[in-house]
Point group: C2
Chain length 423, copies 2
């Protein structure tokens, strides 16, 4: 696919200005509608290309795809075919959408093949096997260390030697648009003698990106940083909801558990690694030098703008954070190589999230914990309200997009409303 | 099912003395053989009852079971039918195996229905959704606290208020009999200036039991301690392999990751909660009193003897630990209630392990870390060898059985050999 302005691609589909879903993007997702059972589509502009219809009409002829591969309620079987196949499918769709290609444009089934996004409900894109959360932003880890540990030695001794990570809960990962109840749990404020059980008082978001694996490994095998990207199919926005009070009381010594596993929200369109290629960039210098198994020759950071909005119920949304994926200290190749360095096996559909993506400035911090500095500096909203943490009825919206030389590739959004705790 | 000696059950199947698989047990598992594709069986003595054959021959008539429910490579669909159904199936099989019941005993298909265990290969019993590991033995938590923290304040402040737990890796859980390679990873001995990468030098087992959930919940819903057992189908032995050097360097602040996720081994036969009923017992007194959501009226500990053996390659196995599941401070009802107290949803086939089950005496500690007290007191084997941790070629075998009033119900074993690290 050509990426320079000189070879700009144009499509016969109407793509609104600033749409995340350009001819350069073409992310995969699972959708259904009143008329259609769950199936695989590709987004462009305000439309979804129904890949089942393209398949039925013979547009994937000679590609030797398994029968019914697009009539699925997850992408797992499709991405399990491997990158050679998924890349070919995406390129075939891109070709069919080019302005001067009349094959689909003038085909009698065009109307059926192009579904309005407004009429579709987006579902979970993958059946997640295992979910891992990293902690790879140095700005975030430093902020947390300053707040809870020693401001002079904010980073723990292991942090610059490995992409620290932990296992999370796959069952409670939900797609954009699904609300959830404020979690209840145990917490113990500093002035309390004993812990109490009740609704969390410090509910927070964490701005993250997550990648989805498209290739499995055998138990005992390791993947090098050089091979790592072969195992990465694409990315989604990831809101790692966190109850700070629950987390703070429970996390020693085995890490976060109920403070995190009540819900995580993801954007429904999986943006492929190929689509993000033009936005590849060099990450921060790693000093001290990393161990050989973590050396990563190829730049593996990506310049992706990330934004977080808080929308109180029935009111305007306010932007509270503008960060960028390029700040990550540990890159995706290092994360995947580290994860498999002990022989831990991968399955197609595993999800690995970045950890909170904070930037260097105060307005780029990726959580309320950091933005309100533990609740000491309330964040002002455009409505005149203030927020220390997230309140009942609030919707948190995360957006992400990359833009360069007139090419825009974005994620759409992950949006989720917090309902009151169940009684 | 009657449990007293007065109503002792006898079967027409030959059950060797001290067999774990008595007429009172009847655990479920997935097996295959040279002739048979993966399917569901029930163990008795040295035989497996092939439930596919019983089904074909009409022994489950009038039970309205879905077609092909036993011709599966996991128990998930079966246990997803619910306890009422699985209990009926197990009781039907028990009835058919009773000494005075001629229906199967004298049936022409008896030979086909009763497979020799020696000729079968046992597979993973369930497709595990999410796997959680608790830390519920007070003796174990105290030992670890004494070794690594403050001997005077060995337990952390949260420990007596909640069953501390964390999420683990489901993909690397393997059945008994599958060997694995010693993991490599980063570690930093106290005398090292910087971490190194290499094969773990402190590979350990952890003696645990794990339960498998048989019923799902919706996101946002909680399960009370009184309801918890409705969600628990049965138990397996669980060896939570641990690389102490990797774990020690990585685990702050987010908990164990690569020090644990290279492999966990389980016994293949799922012993049902019903079969363990006669061995139910009161757990330790919990002081301070637990919060109301963790109060558990019914005794929910079980008197199950647990043993660990180390077998150096080609040599005799030595028993190195004799513990008991009854020592658990936090019981299974409390674990499940805590896990869902924040609305975290369960799926059929989730696995929740107990954490290392150590008893009060030195010979009942459930890990080499404790048995050799961090490697300072080598454990003597019957071969004359010593072990501080587990060496290449060693097989670790865990056994578990309950026995009372002439009734024996056991797990068989989980046995796994450690191969050298891959080069």
């Amino acid at each position: 696919m050509s990426q320079s302005k000189a070879n700009a691609l144009s499509t016969w589909v109407e793509v609104p200005k600033n749409s995340d879903f350009t001819i350069y993007n073409l992310p995969f997702g699972i959708f259904k509608s009143k008329k259609l059972s769950p199936r695989i589509g590709i987004a462009i502009g305000d439309k979804i290309v129904d890949l089942c219809i393209l398949d039925q009409e013979g547009f994937f002829a000679n590609m030797f795809l398994p029968e019914g591969i697009f009539l699925k309620d997850s992408l797992n079987d499709l991405i399990g075919l491997g990158k050679v196949q998924t890349r070919k499918i995406r390129e075939r769709v891109q070709d069919l959408l080019l302005a001067d290609n009349e094959k689909l444009r003038d085909h009698q089934s065009r109307g059926k093949a192009m579904v309005n996004r407004k009429e579709a409900e987006m579902l979970m894109p993958v059946k997640i096997g295992d979910y891992t959360d990293f902690y790879s932003s140095i700005e975030h880890a430093t902020n947390v260390g300053k707040m809870f540990r020693d401001p002079e030695n904010a980073l723990l001794p292991n942090w610059k030697h490995m992409p620290v990570g932990y296992h999370g809960r796959a069952s409670s990962i939900i797609p954009s648009g699904v609300p959830f109840n404020r979690p209840k749990g145990q917490f113990k404020d500093p002035d309390m003698e004993a812990p109490v059980f009740g609704p969390s008082k410090r509910l927070d978001f964490e701005l993250e990106l997550a990648f989805i694996t498209g290739k499995s490994t055998k138990l005992g095998d390791s993947v090098s940083t050089a091979e790592a990207e072969d195992y990465i199919f694409g990315f989604v926005l990831f809101n790692d909801w966190s109850a700070r009070d629950i987390q703070n009381w429970e996390y020693v010594p085995l890490g976060p558990f109920l403070g995190k596993n009540f819900a995580s929200s993801i954007s429904p369109w999986v943006v492929t690694l190929e689509a993000l290629e033009p936005f590849r960039t060099q990450g921060p210098t790693q000093e001290p030098a990393v161990l050989p198994y973590l050396k990563s020759e190829k730049p593996a950071n990506f310049d992706i703008n990330l934004e977080v909005y808080i929308q109180p119920e029935g009111k305007t949304a306010s932007k509270v954070c503008a960060s960028n994926f390029k700040y990550m200290y540990w890159n995706i190749a290092q994360q995947l190589a580290h994860h498999t360095s002990n022989g831990c096996n991968l399955n197609v559909g595993d999800m690995m999230a970045s950890g909170t993506i904070s930037g260097p400035t105060e307005d780029s911090f990726g959580s309320m914990l950091e933005l309100s500095w533990k609740g000491t500096k309330p964040v002002k909203l455009e409505t005149g309200e203030e927020r220390r943490f997230i309140e009942d009825g609030d919707t948190v919206i995360m957006k992400g997009f990359a833009e360069k030389d007139g090419i825009r590739v974005g994620f759409g959004e992950v949006s989720s409303q917090v309902l009151p705790a169940k009684t």
